[in-house]
């Protein structure tokens, strides 16, 4: 069975676009895990709530970019609140408890969204329509913008971590939480801020991705699972790795959905995870320590 070349090209683009959004979600997740050893099960719900706040703001203001900013800020605050109330008391306890606590939170948030917004999916309108020419095909501008914007946000995060004053604090805390505290770095505050940043990034992804699909209360589930897979495949705590893994996995899935149904294409990412865990457990793109 031959697959037309233009479908392959389109899927390549789609894979990259989805990959960049996934990278944005996964970066937040990997940041949180790297710094706090917290596996944030509720990350998908932060993504979903970000999209919902986006829809509400769009309805009130009609401005997409404003919605993006408002959603990011709101969910960042929500993330900070969650971290302070439920995760701070768990610092130093068995990592299992944070998984359970964030799982509980994800249930609450998911059903809260269902309650507040109802089961009918909502839509965010694209800020601009129109296609551009990619070789001889037409591809929507908006999708290109999503990819670029995601890349920009991730780059900003990277620069902040590498060169910003508080970036040094965050990196020090990631490497050695105890010594960071001994150097006067307020570790609990750093944790809260990092969780807020991760949450904000998830929310931004939700708003950016919103116009591509309907916004509904269950959209977080798929994403959180994929994001986990990507974080493990890319190497836990490894920002660059999770970005590469996001694109890699998304491309594979995009190509796979040419052959099987999209519902089945997700198996590709599962298989990638299992192969990684079997043969390169520290991450596909991370050299295995000798």
């Amino acid at each position: 069975m031959t697959i037309p070349v233009d479908q392959i090209l389109i899927q390549t683009l789609n894979g990259i676009v989805t990959g960049m959004i996934l990278a944005l979600v996964a970066s937040g997740l990997t940041l949180i895990f790297g710094i706090m050893d917290v596996v944030n099960f509720a990350h998908g719900e932060l993504f979903m709530l970000g999209a919902y706040v986006g829809t509400t703001t769009m309805v009130m203001s009609g401005n997409f970019w404003l919605s993006l900013v408002v959603a990011t800020m709101t969910i960042a605050l929500l993330g900070a609140a969650i971290q302070v109330t439920t995760l701070r008391p768990l610092l130093g306890r068995d990592p299992l408890t944070t998984i359970l606590a964030t799982f509980g939170i994800s249930l609450v948030l998911q059903n809260y969204a269902l309650w507040q917004y109802g089961p009918v999916p909502r839509k965010i309108l694209e800020p601009f329509t129109g296609h551009f020419n990619f070789f001889y095909l037409e591809y929507p501008w908006y999708r290109l913008v999503i990819a670029l914007l995601s890349a920009a946000i991730i780059t900003a995060l990277y620069l902040f971590l590498k060169f910003g004053t508080y970036g040094v604090w965050i990196r020090a805390t990631t490497q050695d939480r105890i010594m960071a505290a001994a150097m006067g770095i307020p570790v609990p505050a750093v944790h809260t801020i990092v969780f807020a940043i991760g949450s904000g990034m998830a929310a931004a992804s939700g708003v950016l991705f919103g116009p591509l699909i309907g916004v509904n209360h269950a959209m977080g589930l798929d994403w959180v699972l994929k994001a986990f897979i990507v974080v493990v495949v890319g190497g836990m705590g490894n920002l660059g790795g999770s970005i590469l893994a996001s694109i890699f996995v998304s491309l594979l899935e995009a190509y796979a959905s040419l052959v099987v149904s999209p519902a089945q294409a997700v198996i590709v990412s599962f298989v990638a995870l299992i192969l990684t865990l079997l043969f390169r457990p520290t991450g596909l793109f991370v050299p295995t320590p000798k």
């Binding site: 998984i99 606590a101 509980g104 809260y112 269902l114 897979i229 995870l273 865990l277 457990p281």
Partner: protein, 330 residues
Amino acid sequence: MSPDAAAVATVRAVARPSALGFWVGFAIVLAALIAAPLVLPEFWRRFVTEILIWGLLAMSSDILIGYTGMVSFGHSAFFGLGMYGAAAALLSVKPPNLWLALLYGLVAAAAVAAFVAYFSTRLRDIYFSITTLVFSQIFYVIIFTWTAVTGGENGLTFSRPPLAVPGLFSIPFTPETLHWFVLAVVTASYLILRRIMRSPFGMVLQGIRENEPRTRAIGYHVERYKIVSVMLSGCFAGLAGVLYAVQNKFAAPDFVFFLISGEVVIWNVMGGIGTLVGPVVGAAFFLLLREMFSRFLTEYYLIPVGIIFTAMVIFVPQGLIGFLRRKLNQ
């Protein structure tokens, strides 16, 4: 007997939980459960039967989480395969045979368990947990999309087999006898598991949970114990799936979705891991909460239940049973 020896004996008798006390409590609960279908209205009778089935699932998961220290989010796969295995037997062989359903279901669950067992020995902690989660999702996707075999989204329906010993007798189940059958199976499972967990084998599992490197250093072949643990856990979870299929006469992919596994973990934690009884209590507690809340809040019962669960993880991590134990010891 010298005064010292008498003192030691007294202290020992008071400090160790009385075996007699346990069996008395057990007998009382068992009697109540036997009487249940005779006194309760149909809705609640069914509710109790379902608590028993979910309780069995919770117990099976406790073997991994509570005793071996391996948090599995994959129990929905074992349960689901048990359910679908039973469905396969009941649909393909006429007349529908209860024992065949049990066999098919257990074999299917065991096959999945073997798969998971293989991975369990290679991955630690969080990686194991995520992998088990992914596994249950893989099975969910397969079951959901392979409509020809599994009925896809709609699942499979079939009729309930009679309680039969081929050649001797065949009695169709009544609600009461079904309840007692389920009760018998679950009670037997509990007693078997209790025996196993108290044996040297169970002690080694707990050693693995407490301090795996040290258990290995002492000389135990940790991998073999883990594999057996997963197989044991998977088979009993599959058994719960078979019971569910027989009780409800349908199999659906929803039960394979990882959220079910998450709920199982919730029951374990709420009830108290590592106690076998705790998860059953946790399941009952959760289901009762759900029942109560859904009367007032329809579908959004998970909001208060989720909040209660999260609060328990933070403040009462030892679960209800652990909490009671502490209170009684004070």
